[in-house]
Structure formats: C-alpha cells, structure tokens
Subunit: 147 residues, 2 copies
C-alpha cells in the first residue's frame, strides 16, 4: 500500500468512526454530516432504497430512530477493508450494533460503504447494510448470526 493509500484509508476510517461516535452521543445531525446530500442508502429496514428526503427530514428520521432505544445504540466495525484510488473508495466490513429496545441485544450485520472525496472531504455517497435470510422456506432474516 502506498503512503497516499495509507493516508486516505485512515481518513476514510475516521469518517466512519465519527458517524458511530455521533450516534453514540445521540447527535443525529452530526452523524449525517459525512453523508452526501444525494446518498443512496440500502438499509436494514424497508423499502429497498431509502427515499432521499430533505436534510431536515433525514436528521429527524435518524433522531427518531436513536430515540427508539433506551439509550443511543453502540455501533462498531470489525476489521473494515478499504479500497481507495484517487477520489473514489469503498469499504466492506461486519458491524455490530448493541442497544436496549425491549431487551438488551447485539445485532451483527454486513456493511458496505461507497465514498467520494469532494473538495478534500470524504463523503458517504452509498451505504448498504443487511443480514442474509434463511433459505429453508421460512424467509426469516438471519439476525442471530455472529462472526
């Protein structure tokens, strides 16, 4: 890996960590600061693609989601892999989310991020989060898996 790649990789991972730190602090606006205005999000919840609302709507939606937990959930990436060249990058990783909603839980899911550097800042332009589903005819989401 070149020095440039190493520097960019660190900057990209810092952006992703900042999002988790902001969520843990219950700060929806700060969590969305690294997102491009037209980011394309494939989330754990339906629909297939999140509709791109106004920035205000996005902040309100995330704040409502954070408030649905007894305390802000804690998210962490496990050994994220970064591929970067020039101003385009993608990251894949497993992610854990721990929180209290009803009971205490930890959910492991897969995360892929697509980023672009715009005016010197890495922005998340695409995010894909998921769990697989069981192919035994039950169509149950596999929320019980762990690495």
């Amino acid at each position: 890996m070149t020095t440039t790649e190493q520097t960019d990789t660190q900057a990209i991972l810092a952006v992703l960590d900042e999002v988790h730190a902001a969520i843990a602090a219950g700060d929806a606006e700060r969590a969305l600061a690294a997102g491009a205005p037209d980011t394309v999000a494939f989330t754990l919840a339906p629909p297939l693609v999140q509709p791109s609302g106004s920035p205000g709507e996005a902040v309100a939606g995330l704040a409502e989601w954070i408030a649905s937990f007894a305390a802000p959930p804690r998210l962490a990436h496990r050994e994220p892999t970064v591929h970067v060249d020039g101003d385009v990058a993608f990251v894949h990783t497993l992610t854990s989310m721990s929180g209290v909603k009803g009971g205490e839980f930890t959910l492991w899911f897969r995360s892929t991020y697509g980023l672009r550097r715009v005016d010197g800042r890495w922005l998340i332009v695409h995010q894909h989060e998921s769990v697989p589903f069981h192919m035994d005819g039950s169509f149950r989401a596999a929320v019980e898996l762990a690495p």
Copy 2:
C-alpha cells in the same frame, strides 16, 4: 464525466452483464471468471460472509445453485450507478432475478459491487446482495418488494 470515466464505466458494466449472461447460459465457471480469487461476498443466503473456498469449490457451488432451478435463472440490473477513479470502482443497483423453483418467481434485491482493475482487467473483489427485513417484530425478509 470525463472520457476515461465513461470508458471505464462501460467496461465495468460489461463485466457485470457478462456474469448475468454466463448464469443465464448455465455456465458457472464463466460466471466466476470476473471474480477475484479472494473476493468477499455478502450473499442473500447465510452465513454473514461466504467462506472463500478453492476456485473449484466456488464453481461447484454456483453450478449446484443454478441446477436448483428448473432452468438457469435470469438476472438483470436496473439503472446501475458506477463510481470510478483510477483502478477502483463501486456500483450500486437494484437487481431482479426471475426463475422457476417450485413456482415461477421474480425477486428484487439490492446489489453493491466493489471492483479493482488488475493488469488492465476489472475484477469483482466485493459483492453485497440483500433484501431488507420487516421491523414489525416478525423478522421476515422483505422478498415481496419491487421498485
């Protein structure tokens, strides 16, 4: 978009189309030719991350999957978006899969690809496919959605 980006975008989309054409032809080895040996796959089916077996195992696994349908399934991307700079690219899109297994069905899912250009060839180094799941307490995979 620069001419280079346009050329790279066309080359990347051709790689993805080639995979679908190979699956439609029932040719597992050809379908996997665009995959890097150490590609990291987050698939519709568990586990969270597909174990990276030998190339022979990968071909056998895909051939078995294709053979589980009455005829090879047909896959198509819907308006894929490509981000590329230098030798790194990512693509996000919705994908339809139509086939006959039990009954006739069409499944819509989200796809993200990460690619690297190695020795002049675009290789798929990461693939993430998923449907969301219902947050109504049922944990049902949302296999009934369409764009």
